[in-house]
Structures are given as structure tokens and as C-alpha cells.
């Protein structure tokens, strides 16, 4: 086994090609520039083995998923990815092959989203824990937040939801079966949504100046929708018939269960946002789906087809 320092150097010291990165891995801290006229947007995201992903899943898929989930928060703010730090707590029996595979998945994903690994910390732990801090830039004052949804705005989704949740039982039953570009025992389209969430980075940046509020859906449409409602002090009225649900999910689970997975299942990483009615044509041309309307706050934060929600179908609680 390589020492801590050799291991880090071997697996995580990639070349940087961003002029704003002054110092990356290898000193006490990283050093970056934030260009004049931009704000820095940052998020930190932890994934714990057998809580957020199966510990026996292939290491490169664990890495892909962890980084993509973190980057999704940048999409929700309309930010352009810049850099990330990785804190990796590894069980003592972790072998070099696992770490090289993890590193490969992470590097592939980092290249796809043009985000630089600039620092980290590797520690020993009884449990595999991955914490990723991501950051990106937005023109000053223009970041998308949750607190400016306006009464009368349309409620929009960037794409189909419920796919990851529809794949979950099958993934948990056999975590190592899914290998990139094969379908094996898993339904490939759904399992791909679980392991390769598509952070909506390009769309997020296009929504600046259009969306009045935005967030990414990680804990289910309803739970996350309630955050926008509370932050903006409004009520979201969803039209369930307009929610885009994946055909494979419906075929696998039936229409009603697929809708419930879409409402409460989590792990979607699509954007949920609100926008004035005059943006409708632009948003349809961007491939987005209108799924309801922002209303004045009543006794409920959320309404489904005009009816109050049952508490039983709210989203996943991580803790």
C-alpha cells in the first residue's frame, strides 16, 4: 500500500487548465481567483456508504454519482462550475484498485463538467464517507435562489422525474450488477439515472433572468417544492397530469406507483423552478415542462390538483 501522500499524489493530482486556479492539490490550501463582476456559489454534499449509495457498487459509479449530485447544486443556482474539494474517509481495507477506479470515475465526471479538483483530505474511517465541496461563478447578483417565486408564476421542471427512485429496489438488490453501457440485471435507463444524474448546468445558466426561483430536486418534488414555497411565502399548486414521468418507470411499477415515486422518491437532480407566464414559449423551447402555478399562500404550502397533500407522501429524510 502506498503512503497517504503517495496515494493522494498518485490518484488525485490531475493537471489543471483553468487560469483562475492559482494553486491546487499539494499545499495547506488551494488558491483561486474569482473574476471581477462575479459572485462565488458554493455547496457541500456528503454521501455515506449504505446510506446514500450501496457500499458494494463499483467505485467509479460511486464517484460519478457523488460529484454529479454535488454539481447539481451549482446548476440550481445558475452557476458555471469552477472547482471542487474532496474529503474522502476510507475504511482501512480499501485497496489501491478501488481508489484508482474511484479516481477514474471522478476525473471523467470532472472533465465532463469542466470542474477542477483543487484540494482535499484523505482520512481513515470505519465507514466510507465522501464529502465534496463544489463551487462555481455567476454574474454578480444574478444567482437563482428559492425565495423569489411570485404569485401567478408557472412552476416548471427541467425533465422527467422518478427514474432514480424507480431503479432503487433493483440497484439495492444487486449493487454491483450495473456497469457502464451494459444493462445486465438492471434496467439500464433507470439505473443510469441513479448513477449518472445529469446536473442541469447549461439550463441553469440559461434560466438566469428568466426564472424567479429555482432549486434542484434531490429529496423528492414535494419536499423540495415545499422549500421554494416556504422561502417565497407562497403556495405551489401542482397539476399531476402535467408531471413528466418516465415510460419505463410506469411499465415497471404501474402508473400510480410511478407518480408517487416521481412526487416523493428523490435522487432526480432535475431543476424545479418558477417563472413568469411570459417565459412560457422560451421554456418550452428549452425542453422544460410546466407542471403548475404559484398561488397565494393559504393554509398549505403545497396543493395537488387543488387538493391538500397527505403527509405520507412527502420526500426522503436523510437524517
Amino acid at each position: 500500500m502506498l503512503t497517504e501522500f503517495e496515494l493522494i499524489k498518485h490518484c488525485f493530482n490531475w493537471p489543471q487548465n483553468n487560469d483562475d486556479i492559482i494553486c491546487a492539490v499539494g499545499d495547506d490550501a488551494s488558491i483561486v481567483k474569482v473574476p471581477n463582476g462575479y459572485d462565488l456559489v458554493q455547496s457541500i454534499d456528503t454521501q455515506v456508504a449504505d446510506v446514500h449509495f450501496p457500499a458494494s457498487a463499483p467505485a467509479q459509479l460511486i464517484a460519478q454519482r457523488a460529484l454529479r449530485c454535488a454539481i447539481s447544486d451549482l446548476a440550481a443556482m445558475g452557476a458555471k462550475p469552477q472547482a471542487f474539494h474532496l474529503a474522502l474517509s476510507l475504511p482501512k481495507n480499501t485497496n489501491q484498485t478501488w481508489l484508482e477506479s474511484f479516481s477514474k470515475g471522478l476525473h471523467t465526471c470532472a472533465n465532463e463538467y469542466d470542474i477542477s479538483l483543487i484540494g482535499g483530505d484523505t482520512t481513515s474511517s470505519p465507514t466510507l464517507v465522501i464529502t465534496i465541496q463544489v463551487q462555481g461563478i455567476v454574474p454578480s447578483g444574478s444567482a437563482l435562489t428559492r425565495n423569489k417565486a411570485q404569485i401567478g408564476d408557472g412552476i416548471w421542471l427541467s425533465g422527467e422525474i422518478g427514474k432514480s427512485a424507480a431503479a432503487l429496489d433493483s440497484i439495492l438488490a444487486n449493487p454491483s450488477a450495473f456497469i457502464e453501457n451494459t444493462c445486465d440485471s438492471h434496467d439500464s435507463e433507470l439505473a443510469t439515472a441513479y448513477y449518472y444524474p445529469q446536473a442541469q448546468i447549461a439550463l441553469g445558466q440559461k434560466l438566469i433572468g428568466i426564472a424567479s426561483s429555482a432549486m434542484d430536486i434531490s429529496d423528492g418534488l414535494l419536499q423540495d417544492g415545499s422549500h421554494i414555497a416556504k422561502a417565497s411565502d407562497v403556495c405551489l399548486n401542482f397539476a399531476t397530469a402535467d408531471i413528466p414521468i418516465n415510460k419505463r418507470a410506469i411499465a415497471l411499477h404501474g402508473k400510480e406507483a410511478a407518480l408517487e415515486l416521481a412526487l416523493s422518491g428523490g435522487d432526480d437532480y432535475q431543476l424545479l423552478f418558477t417563472a413568469p407566464q411570459d417565459a412560457k414559449e422560451t421554456l418550452i423551447n428549452l425542453g422544460c415542462h410546466c407542471i403548475g402555478q404559484v398561488q397565494e399562500k393559504s393554509s398549505d404550502w403545497l396543493i395537488l390538483n387543488g387538493q391538500p397533500l397527505k403527509n405520507t407522501i412527502m420526500g426522503y429524510q436523510h437524517f
Copy 2:
């Protein structure tokens, strides 16, 4: 038990009083400004229960120690603290009292160092894992790094080392005995060094324009010294008689063992830096100690009183 969201809001939603913090806890991501003419310095640091601290230590001391250790990396770069993100993975049996105590320790420390909590993630985990990402600002291009030590420079320490290491056996034997401002079964001065490392923030900023290289000592003088030597491609020649060693540590362990703890023990969080000879008077007036001289690289990165090092006394390997 409060829900995840209620818990976070209850324990970690502190008022901010820094104009550069545009958006803190509560959205998908935080938003900060980096003032024109400054670079952003960032570090991420993980502490795992029973690896980096005793799990049964008082929660507010665990928090103090974790944040102080992270902030020390900013001191090493000469940065002024700005903000931090907290990723907290908690065992399911964590109670609200523990979390409130942790939050109190964190908040006290954050106020002391004038650093704002701007975001985080709380997850469930079999093991308590604390990851803190800290950031600060330095005038553009002036951050202290490890790679510019020059042959002929003096090697300097900001203060006594080996105190935390001297306290470790006693702390591990009875982790909950040390309570702030009492001495109980622990030697208070040494245990204080362990739980309340003093991040050298003020000194770090003063060293800009004086020090040629700098780092904080977390893994022992020798191991960390070798990082400066390798990054700068020089040899560090330490004069052991000039290393400031705490009297209580000598009284407790004897002179020879106290020196070995100072060389290899870790957890010091003093600054190790190099500076040209003409800075000597300034540095002595700042309370620093000259402990050797930078030499041309030979077959060794480090020399102790002109002799090559035994490998056996190198510092702590976290992994």
C-alpha cells in the same frame, strides 16, 4: 427528535455580519463575494471519531478542535478568515443536547476567528465524521506557500510544539474529564493545547512579505518540514536545542521523550516557516523562534544537528 431541517435551522442558522456573505445556510448553495484585489484561499479538513478525537469527548470541545484545526490552514497561507461550510455525519443515536453543545462550541470558535458558517450538509452515518471547508482572503498573489524556501533562509517556529502530543495519553485514557477552564484529571495546559489549538491567523497575515515559505504543523515538525523541503527542493537543517519545548511536557515525559513528541507528535498547529536572515529581528519581536537553516539539497530532505534522520521518528500517518 426534530426533523433534519428543523435541527439544522435550530442549531446552525446564526446571524451573519459580513457584507461579503450574500447568501448563507438555507438555499441550494451559499453565495459570497471575493473583494477585488484578493485571492480566495480554501481548505477542507475531516475529523473522524476515535481516529482524530475521542468519540466520548465533550461535543463542544470536538467542535472547537475541528474548526480550529481547519482554520489553521488559512493561517499557514497568510489568509484572513471569511467563511466555512460544515458537513456533519451523525450516528442515529445522536441526541439534541449533543448537537446543541457541538453548535455552541462551533459558534464560540467562529466568533473568535470572525468566520461565518455559510452552508452545510447533515447526514446519518454509523460513524461521527466532521468535515469542515474553510476559506479566507489574501491580497492577490501574496499567499504564503511551501515552495519558495531559499538556501540560507532561517527556519522558524511560531511557538512551542509537542504540547498536544504530550497530553494525548491522558486525554485518550479519560476523554470526558477535560472541561473548559478546569483541570480535573488532565494537565490543563497540555489538554488545552489539544482541544483549543491556536490557529496563528494574526501572525500568518503579518508574515506576508516576510516569510519565503510557510505551513502549519499538524502531523509533526519533521513530516511537515519534509513537505517544505520537497516543495522547495532544499534541505532543512534543524538545531534541536533551539526548538521551543513546553516545560510541562518535559516535566511529564522527560527531556528526550518531550523532544521526540515535539519532532513527531503532531497536532501542534504552530506555523513552520522560512525567512531571509534580514528578517531575524522582526521575527524575534513577533515571538517566533529560529530553529535552523535552509541548506542546499543533498541526499536528505531533513538534517537534525547535521545528522541524517532515523526514519522511525517521522510523523503521524492518518491513513
